[in-house]
């Protein structure tokens, strides 16, 4: 059982480039989330999804887009990378809103130079 899998683990982008951070889970979880972690700032919610076809903005959505075409996959898209998007990105999932235990992936470290 792989849990939550994120790819890539590391990436360096130039300003203005685009990329997609991949996230997939094999636990049949309905709820999926994208967080970013900046030093000393904790984890901030970017986007979330409560099921396939349903997504919504979190605390810091600007500069990002998501889609949820299947239960398993929740990719995060950066269209025009900016230095402010240098961060560690974590994808997470859980089975239901009453089951509050989140399962996290191992993260993607992104640098925008």
């Amino acid at each position: 059982n792989a849990g939550v899998t994120q790819t890539p683990k590391f990436r360096i982008l130039k300003i203005g480039q685009s990329m997609t951070l991949q996230c997939t889970q094999d636990m049949n979880h309905n709820y999926m989330y994208w967080y970013r972690q900046d030093p000393g700032m904790g984890l901030k919610l970017i986007y979330y999804s409560v099921g396939a076809g349903i997504t919504d903005k979190g605390e810091v959505p600007n500069g990002y887009n998501v889609s949820r075409s299947t239960t398993e996959d929740f990719p995060l898209r950066l269209e025009l990378a900016a230095p402010s998007q240098t961060s560690v990105y974590f994808c997470a999932s859980k089975g239901g809103h009453l089951n509050e235990k989140l399962f996290f992936g191992s993260g993607t470290q992104l640098s925008v130079l």
Partner: protein
Amino acid sequence: DQQVKQNSPSLSVQEGRISILNCDYTNSMFDYFLWYKKYPAEGPTFLISISSIKDKNEDGRFTVFLNKSAKHLSLHIVPSQPGDSAVYFCAASAVGLSNTGKLIFGQGTTLQVKP
């Protein structure tokens, strides 16, 4: 607007002693609280949780205390072990408010347990 705050960025304790990590929150609608532990280059992992209807929850060496009137919770680790050295995040949610399951995280406290 930091709704969940961990005001101590770091804590250092001796092996075998008690570690106390603190967390404050401002939103009175929060009704479920969790602690996550994070090692370098890994994702956070769930440690322990508490519902607002309780004031204490214990799991082995880990105990979480909740003081609703003060909007404060703490995580006690007794006895502390070197393997407990990690970043600890406090998180909160308002389960009764919505079905989104969103968690709001604090900034984290880095715990170092010295042998």
